[in-house]
Symmetry: C2
Subunit: 437 residues, 2 copies
Amino acid sequence: MGVWLVNELRMYDAVVVGAGILGLATAYHMKRLRPEDNIVVLERLAGPGMGNTSKSAGMFRSFFYSKTNLTLADTSIEFYRHVHEELKHDLGIKWTGYLWLYDEETYRRAEPVLKDMASRGVKYTDFTGEEVAQRMGQRRELSGDVEAKVMGLANVDYGVLVPKAGAIDVDALAKFYANSFVGMGGEIRYKTAVKRLVLEPRTSMGLPGEPYFWQEGRVVGVETEDGRVIRARKTVVAAGVWSIRLLDQVGVDGHFKPKKRQLFSVRAETEELRRLLYTKDLNPEGCMPFLILPRPRVYIKPVLEENAFWLSYADEFGRPFQLEDEPKAEENYYRYGIYPIVTKYLPQFEGRMPYASWAGLYAINTLDGQPVIFEENNLLVVGGASGSGIMKADAIGRIAASLYVGEEQAELYGGVRFRVSDLGMEKRRVEPEKLVI
Amino acid sequence: MGVWLVNELRMYDAVVVGAGILGLATAYHMKRLRPEDNIVVLERLAGPGMGNTSKSAGMFRSFFYSKTNLTLADTSIEFYRHVHEELKHDLGIKWTGYLWLYDEETYRRAEPVLKDMASRGVKYTDFTGEEVAQRMGQRRELSGDVEAKVMGLANVDYGVLVPKAGAIDVDALAKFYANSFVGMGGEIRYKTAVKRLVLEPRTSMGLPGEPYFWQEGRVVGVETEDGRVIRARKTVVAAGVWSIRLLDQVGVDGHFKPKKRQLFSVRAETEELRRLLYTKDLNPEGCMPFLILPRPRVYIKPVLEENAFWLSYADEFGRPFQLEDEPKAEENYYRYGIYPIVTKYLPQFEGRMPYASWAGLYAINTLDGQPVIFEENNLLVVGGASGSGIMKADAIGRIAASLYVGEEQAELYGGVRFRVSDLGMEKRRVEPEKLVI
């Protein structure tokens, strides 16, 4: 299926902008629901999931208070498990679990929410601070430490270990969707950057600068950077933060903003760090769980295949909303931000600097942190996953595909039904997340 | 009060960014509530209200279904009336009224909402299409017109004339607030562009790139384009669409986007147009009311002092969200957008081209079209007036000032109380506008 000029005359049923995880999951489910439709995915990079998808920490958890969050994540995780275990398509899933550390005060505030979740069948195990400290060689009592006080650090009084959580190979997941989509007859054009959405009036009058406001303009496809127009009945914009540029051009607000997130990889070069990395008995992988410190919520991912830890922190106030082509990790962010905190809790990291670091852009929904899926004038917007794009991608793709085929309810993996308009803007109905983590 | 370098060492109580209508009304009411506070307004242009404020059509109406809309507009209008009539400060108020034209179908849909408003004491007068057509020399029956049909135009079956509505001299209003603010001892620095908000940690550690996320960063003032730092206990960003740049830099979303709006001024050069401009008996000014056509809602403002009409249309889908220094009116927008519509309804405009045109940027709140007023880390955001900034400025200024002094309730003009958090983002509570106009 080569890219011929003659294709330009072809009318697709749908063009999907972006072969990141959201674009691919959406295209895959669209094709699954409408095998007869001609669907093309356009991607500016050379392969699937090579943009901000590839920068992800690649963690997932089925542990939320909000029904919206829980449903989107849990059904997606179950689908990934199905692909990995039953379809034997290796997605590199590791059930490391998540271990949240709490000080007394924060735990007491979280407790009613946790109990409520437990009563609904969400599983977790409580640990005392002593148990955690002993298993992981951690300091739990920081109140006597002047520096820790200045930094506002909290004691480790409790640990909450969540088993249905872990790591996934993001690259494998993106390729799974891409290959399955192509396998069903879908088309992906890489190295094809989209410049703009093409608007046309319902009935052209041949006026310069059409469509005018009385002409019922709608989106009829996209123009690529090299000047081709690819026409389609429906245009799906699922390009993560890059969607914002395309949407701004036509005056549509996706309600998400770009925010840089950084990861720093530190090798387990010492005996102490290796012992930490291979902490026993907390998960089936025989490694340290994904660990979230009490305050500030710096997190540490065990990466066995790299013999390393990935460290990060999601900073809010002061971190700009900024669209950058090549966001860079900042050495000082590790040195003065993450390092002094981590070493207070985990002295094993003393003197350890990252051997690699990178940064990506989250598409943050600044309203409620949930994905946004809606249609307007033949334009479908799929985005705003707010850093949970990997763990919710399958559900998001199914809901977007249901919108595409005009269904009011999407069927998520496992037969769970989800009202499509709940993630739209007009009748948006998402449950707030009460679990402060 | 010269701009000395020594001022840089001075700590203001508040710095207000923007001497447009929102910044000025806010600064005025802040000073009114806290006469002892040192408050400085910074403005990149040479005088008050010279940015997008000056591009406004300058119309107001106390005619909304939404209680939020009605309260903000009505109390502001009452204050303007008070200034104009009782304080004898000429604000150029002209009670032209608003005349909405409706076709049968749209009127029937609006009728229950109108009746509901009437029962709450909101005044208007109904006209038949014939009456309107006869008084204004209008065509009311377009259904036989092929071109009108292509353009989707509707008949004039009804008119709704709203008396508590009209025009205000925006420049006079901005100057009133500026002068009153300065008269109370407030300071305004013109030609002083703000480059960025200055963030500092609560306790500085002297680290490069402070504040880090564990340092409780907050806004301590602004840096101007010429590199001065002006420090203040509170920083108020009320710079219309320009606020977005400052807020993006610190990762705060004001939830508004810039959208161009254009005005075209056509002289009443012919006898027919003069007759239309001086339409009798519909308002105390003896002129045509501000006229809103049935569909699309092109509007026409009578401007007696210019012997002219201002024409416009607020286009939505397809009009980009774009921040421009010098937005331009587009000749074709008049020629192919407004002109063919207006001339169908009002043949008096046949052959008439604008002698002047200009464009400004609305700060559109894409959630609910209402203003946004909130505080975060000593930063106050006042914006998103969505094209109603002039008619709601006084109420917005009072609510923002109440937030500044820490009151939960603002007292609007006439003693009306308004919960400050209703326009914030966390506990936002605005009543949707049901009157489709």
